[in-house]
């Protein structure tokens, strides 16, 4: 091998390494239920990751909640947080810890199902202790990002080269006016995407005012009352024309193709700085009570990590799945693998060999979900 050839090989390897998506440590912890010391349990996870302070001190922190579907729909009459919503006590503990770590402002956000009303009222409808959450840190705010909310205009987030569906997304300003963005997700399956974890949770940052079934044709509908099936899931119509339109209207309209790609694009356009997954109590078999065959389970787990792809990869392994599995392999039976798509966009690594797991090991935490 000549020197030039050697340099060429090394250079290629260096370049390949440079292009490798980032991996970050993930911590796994146990929590027997929601009545225990969740602040302590989550605090230990964050400490294992190096502590929250360096990330949030003096900053505005935005927590994207995972509130899937109408609060009116319960599974077996159980509280929403015990099945398919992130639990309010987990949220309260995270808010408290953020405040304790010096966050200047903590803002809870979600694009509330079929509603443009205040997030606080949506949370009350979900049986959440809003006053307690508001008091969990010094400056706690609530924003329903399903429309403009308290802002006057939408913020535009560009997707990176290689994106498949949209060149950019128009989102509520809360996603721009933040220093730290946290996905606070539930450990569960998803009928379309295989899993709902920190990445899929952020599919819900899209406002139904623009991407909803009753979005305005030209301008956003600030009183959305429907979901996002027509525009995002199936591409039967475009978003409001005020927002960027699809890159390739001739691309597949199948939701198993579109939803994972949109999810990956959103994670690239609006990076997630911290992923927290509530797997204390949850459901298997789908994302909400409208999915047949759901089962209530109690894995008793909390998972957190700085990188959402790495965190979801570890969570998938805990669920008994291969995070690198391709289409057709459970849980990605009828869809593409969101993690791999996000990896392709450089969001993070789903390669377990590159991810350091702290606290509980994957094998110790394993809680098999259905295949």
């Amino acid at each position: 091998m000549t020197r030039r050839e050697l340099l060429g090989v090394l250079g290629g390897a260096v370049a390949a390494r440079a292009k490798e998506p980032p991996a970050a440590p993930v911590a796994i912890g146990k929590a027997a239920g929601y009545d225990g010391d969740l602040t302590g349990a989550l605090g230990r996870l964050f400490d294992q990751l190096g502590g929250l302070g360096r990330l949030v001190k003096g900053k505005t922190v935005t927590l994207k909640l995972n509130l899937t579907g109408s609060p009116a729909l319960r599974f077996q009459g159980r509280p929403l947080g015990a099945t398919h919503y992130v639990h309010p006590r987990v949220v309260g503990a995270v808010v408290h810890l953020m405040g304790q770590a010096g966050a200047r402002r903590v803002r809870l956000v979600e694009s509330c199902w079929a509603s443009g009303g205040p997030l606080e009222e949506y949370l009350l409808d979900s049986g959440w202790p809003v006053r307690a959450l508001a008091a969990a840190a010094a400056a706690v705010e609530f924003e329903n990002t399903n429309n403009l909310g308290k802002s006057r205009r939408y913020a535009r987030f560009k997707t990176p080269p290689g994106a498949w569906i949209f060149p950019a997304y128009d989102l509520n300003q809360a996603y721009l006016e933040t220093d730290v963005f946290v996905s606070l997700a539930k450990l569960k399956n998803h009928a379309t995407c295989g899993v709902t974890l920190s990445l899929k949770n952020c599919f819900g940052i899209t406002p139904a005012s623009i991407y909803g079934d009753d979005a305005g044709r030209e301008e956003p509908n600030e009183n959305p009352s429907k979901g996002r099936a027509e525009v995002l899931h199936f591409g039967r119509r475009g978003p409001s024309r005020s927002a960027p339109q699809e890159l390739d209207p001739g691309s597949s309209r199948a939701d198993g193709y579109r939803v994972p790609r949109i999810t990956a694009e959103l994670a690239a356009a609006r990076p997630i700085d911290l992923a927290v997954i509530d797997g204390i109590q949850t459901v298997t078999g789908g994302e909400g009570p409208w999915i047949r065959g759901l089962k209530f389970v109690e894995p008793g787990l909390l998972i957190a990590g700085w990188n959402p792809v790495s965190t979801d990869a570890v969570a998938m392994a805990v669920m008994g799945y291969d995070p690198q599995a391709g289409r057709g392999v459970p849980p990605f039976r009828g869809c593409d693998n969101t993690l791999k798509l996000a990896e392709a966009l450089g969001v993070g690594s789903a390669d377990l060999a590159r991810i350091e797991v702290r606290g509980l090991g994957i094998e110790q935490a394993r809680f098999p979900f259905p295949v």
Binding site: A72, D125, G127, S225, W290
Partner: protein, 454 residues
């Protein structure tokens, strides 16, 4: 015996169907508020035992039977009167009425809803046509991975609230369990509360299995019966609530010919969304009936007289918001056994809700309730306006927890009353629209007793 019964009066009767002619079974009524039995047959011994216990016994006649013959039999047995259940020829009813009047007995009619006489009837107005209160869940399996609508509550309250507004008489909901039904006790508790929050009484009617076990004094049946009695007592102990008027600031102007006698219609649809609504029968439309209302929904504008139109003009001149429905908002009278809308009408109902909702928005029309899926509520106010009760019924199989109520106006004292738990004082806190309270838990039903700040 009769004088004691007459002292109570039909309006105060707490009715139950009784399936046994064994006088000993009447001991099961000791300590319960039930003081009126509907029976299909009775012996002199049974009649005497009932009379001795101060119970009014009514002999029931079903459609097809001769009312006059049943009336004679009731008179012979010296019972309190007769109940006619179903549709009878008017002439036959009048004949029975005359006969009973001569004997000093009472005639109560429970006809199909379409034949209700809301004006000038007897001491009791009621029907046997009712739904079994409970949850019905709509499912849209076609939409993959998309959440569907929330639970719909099967209820008689819309119909009963209209009847309450249209009549001064005591109201009975006399539906029986479907044949061969075996209900858990919670379904009976829901039936009691469903009627009571609308100012009516459900005629207690147990399924055959339950009756058999109860008359045999089986422990589980006795425990369930005790719960039923506790729920009846709860609402009888607060009998004054029955006459309190709906306090919602949303008025619904409707009548029998525009769908008010149906269940699952416009009134139920608004109520299931927990918007406090006051039914206003069209013939009783007046400035007084709309006093305090902020929004009025007129289901059938074409039916208004000139005078009624002027009343509504006055309402809007005074700052009220009026929503006049198109012809499609009018639903028919009940027909035959059908007392609910047809499935094809449900989309119309959804459209009406969207219209009403766009008008009402997040406005507080008396009370806004949160986390009350699978529940119904009714806000009624005392005649002096100083107190109000927010009725709550939980139709789900689990206790309802973490409910928040936002009240339009300041409150002083707030108490939570329920049949099976001790009274609890709640701590209201101020919010922009008035006051808010948090309710930790509601099992079957409860009442939030409010003292308004004057």
């Amino acid at each position: 015996m009769l004088p004691a019964l007459l002292l109570v009066g039909a309006a105060a009767w707490v009715p139950a169907r009784w399936g046994s002619t064994d006088p000993k079974t009447l001991e099961l009524l000791r300590g319960t508020p039930v003081n009126c039995l509907l029976v299909e047959q009775a012996s002199p011994e049974f009649a005497a035992e009932a009379a001795g216990r101060g119970l009014a016994v009514l002999l029931a006649a079903r459609a097809g039977e001769a009312p006059e013959a049943v009336a004679r039999r009731a008179a012979e047995l010296r019972l309190a009167g007769v109940v006619l259940e179903g549709a009878f020829q008017p002439a036959a009813i009048e004949q029975a009425r005359r006969l009973l009047e001569q004997a000093g007995l009472t005639l109560i009619e429970l006809p199909p809803r379409a034949l209700l006489r809301l004006e000038g009837g007897g001491p009791v107005v009621g029907t046997t046509q009712g739904l079994w209160p409970g949850i019905r869940v709509f499912e849209d399996g076609a939409v993959h991975a998309a959440p569907t609508g929330g639970p719909w509550v099967e209820t008689n309250t819309g119909f009963l609230r209209y009847v309450r507004a249209a009549s001064e008489a005591a109201i009975w909901m006399g539906n029986r369990p479907p044949p061969k039904a075996i209900f858990p006790v919670e379904r009976y508790l829901a039936a009691i509360a469903d009627a009571a929050i609308a100012g009516a009484r459900w005629v207690v009617a147990l399924d055959e299995d339950f009756q058999g076990r109860l008359y045999a004094r089986q422990a589980k049946a006795l425990a369930a019966w005790a719960r039923i009695a506790a729920h009846l007592r709860f609402y009888e102990d607060h009998g004054e609530w029955r006459s309190w008027k709906p306090a919602g600031r949303l008025a619904l102007i409707q009548d029998e010919h525009s769908g008010a006698l149906l269940s699952g219609g416009v009134l139920d649809m608004i109520a299931v969304k927990h918007a406090p609504v006051r039914p206003v029968p069209r013939r009783l439309l007046s400035g007084e009936a709309l006093r305090g209302a902020r929004v009025a929904v007129n289901v059938d504008p074409a039916a208004l007289s000139d005078q009624q139109k002027e009343i509504l003009r006055g309402f809007t001149r005074g700052g009220g918001v009026l929503l006049s429905g198109p012809p499609g908002w009018k639903f028919p009278m009940p027909e035959g056994d059908r007392i609910t809308l047809e499935d094809k009408d449900l989309e119309r109902l959804n459209e009406i809700w969207r219209e009403v909702n766009s008008l009402v928005g997040r406005r507080n029309l008396g009370a806004r309730l949160f986390n009350v899926s699978g529940m119904l509520s009714n806000l009624v106010a005392a005649p002096d306006g100083k107190r109000a009760v927010l009725h709550l019924v939980n139709f789900t199989s689990q206790p309802a927890e973490n409910i928040t109520v936002h009240l339009a106006g300041g409150v002083g004292r707030v108490r939570l009353l329920s049949p099976e738990e001790p009274e609890r004082e709640l701590a209201p806190y101020g919010i922009e629209e008035g006051a808010a309270v948090e309710i930790e838990r509601v099992c079957s039903c409860a009442a939030l007793l409010l003292d308004w700040k004057q």
